[in-house]
């Protein structure tokens, strides 16, 4: 068999990869001061911005202390959902929901918990070891021990 076409095909894919990588490099979103990260028993009180974002994309299943990661997301009816989806996930609310439905369906992550209000999110995180969420920075009555500092 003549395998020259495989080499040509590989070159085309490589070129495509380089183009997409350069395109993607401009698609980063920056952290917002309007948002605050909260977590319960994560084994740390500080996270880098990148680690936090990757966690919300389902990259990690356990924290450094061995606690299972529980992702908490704003539901589509939540007022904060568009900002969260854009800043943290780099997608639209629909994109975020589709992303997580697909990830769970693949069996590569446990389902996240969805809540409509920030107060419900705070209550859930406070009662769930390993839970992490992002809420508006002006959310009242957030216990100090839940607040996670975000570093660049």
């Amino acid at each position: 068999m003549d395998f020259k076409w495989i080499h040509r095909f590989a070159k085309v894919l490589l070129l495509l990869f380089v183009l997409l990588k350069s395109y993607n490099a401009n698609a980063q979103t920056s952290w917002s001061n309007n948002l605050m990260v909260i977590g319960n028993n994560l084994g740390t009180s500080k996270l880098t911005q990148e680690y936090m974002k990757q966690t919300f994309k389902g990259k990690y299943s356990l924290w450094s202390n061995g606690q299972a990661v529980t992702i908490v997301l704003p539901s589509s009816k939540s007022a904060q959902a568009p900002e969260f989806a854009n800043v943290v996930m780099g997608m639209s609310v629909t994109g975020m929901q589709k992303y997580w439905l697909s990830l769970v369906f693949q069996g590569r992550a446990n389902p996240p918990a969805f809540f409509e209000t920030s107060s419900d999110i705070v209550k859930f995180v406070a009662s769930t070891s390993g839970a992490i969420a992002v809420i508006p920075a002006n959310t009242p009555d957030v216990p100090n021990y839940l607040i996670i500092k975000i570093q660049n």
């Binding site: 068999m1 894919l13 495509l16 990869f17 997409l20 990588k21 395109y23 993607n24 698609a27 990757q54 990259k59 990690y60 299943s61 356990l62 450094s64 061995g66 606690q67 299972a68 780099g90 639209s92 629909t94 994109g95 929901q97 589709k98 439905l101 697909s102 769970v104 369906f105 693949q106 069996g107 590569r108 446990n110 389902p111 918990a113 390993g130």
Partner: protein, 356 residues
Amino acid sequence: MRVRLLVLLVLVFSLDNVAIAQNRNTQFNGFGHIEYNLNNLNQKNSYFSIGEHDFFVNSKLSDRISYLGEYVIRFNGSSATSFLPSIERSLVKFNYSKLHSIIVGKIHTPLNYWNDVYHHGRLFFPTVDRPFAFSYLIPLHTLGIQFQGQNIGKLNFGYDVVWGNGISSTDAFHADTHTPVSFAAHIKPIEGMRIGVSYYNEYLPDNVFGTHSGHASNYSHHVGETYEGPINYELACFSFAYFGKKVEVLNEFAFNRTRSDSLPEANNFSNYLYLGLPIAEVHTPYVYVDYLNVDHNDLHTYQIEKYKVGLGYRYQFNYQLNVKAQFEYESTLHDHSNLNSMDPFVSFKVQLAYGF
């Protein structure tokens, strides 16, 4: 009386809390689709059909252990009720470290992107149908043990090593002692991109098909007696997937080599290429080309050559509902094919896919 009432109330609230906790740990989903087909085959036809309906459960059994089940009901004309249920996935996953896990149960083989990502959820399919390779070359399921790693390092490296029942097995029995091992590895260098390779090798002493192969359909195009001697079945796959905001690319390549004790080795391959251009997230016009070539020496799948090209459009109402419409030209080139697939034909398909 008051004490009894109090005890009753406490019990009711306790049970309610248990139910809430249960809900937090277990998620149920369903996926289904309905299709309309119009084609200009020998006998022109136009019909609606109800597709696979897929019930999905995911449950967190402990911090590190979870269960996943996928149960499908599909139309089957030979069934007494016209429908047949099947367990497509049923697995227990033990997450023994941050990025590594062991999975035991019935799984989809991780041999290419489509099988590992879309499973039976038409909601996630970029086009109406699966690539040809799924009907001829790819072993779709296996029942066994899987070692999985994912998102390792900057390239998000992932691996799957599977030791499980082979092509000739059923969900409850395997007639010989040859248990195949398959390997798959991928990287996700940027958001939305996944590049993967895989290898599968199985020795089939009697060349028998069981429930795990997706290519038990050889008899539909093969005319004559079938070979019942030993076959060595090798499969190597390469997948490239990129699903970005402005462009979607999926290429699935499969190379299959079979060796028998009667004829020289057979080299078979297939390639599926999909290109989509999402517009404002909801509109996606797309094109695809699918080609399959099974060698004349092949005694497992049997010789066939076919291709199809298609042009379609997908509209996403929301993340739980989409509709796809596509025109497709399909041609089968093998002389021994059955009459229904001999002549080239054009079809128009519409698929409404939903998840809940």
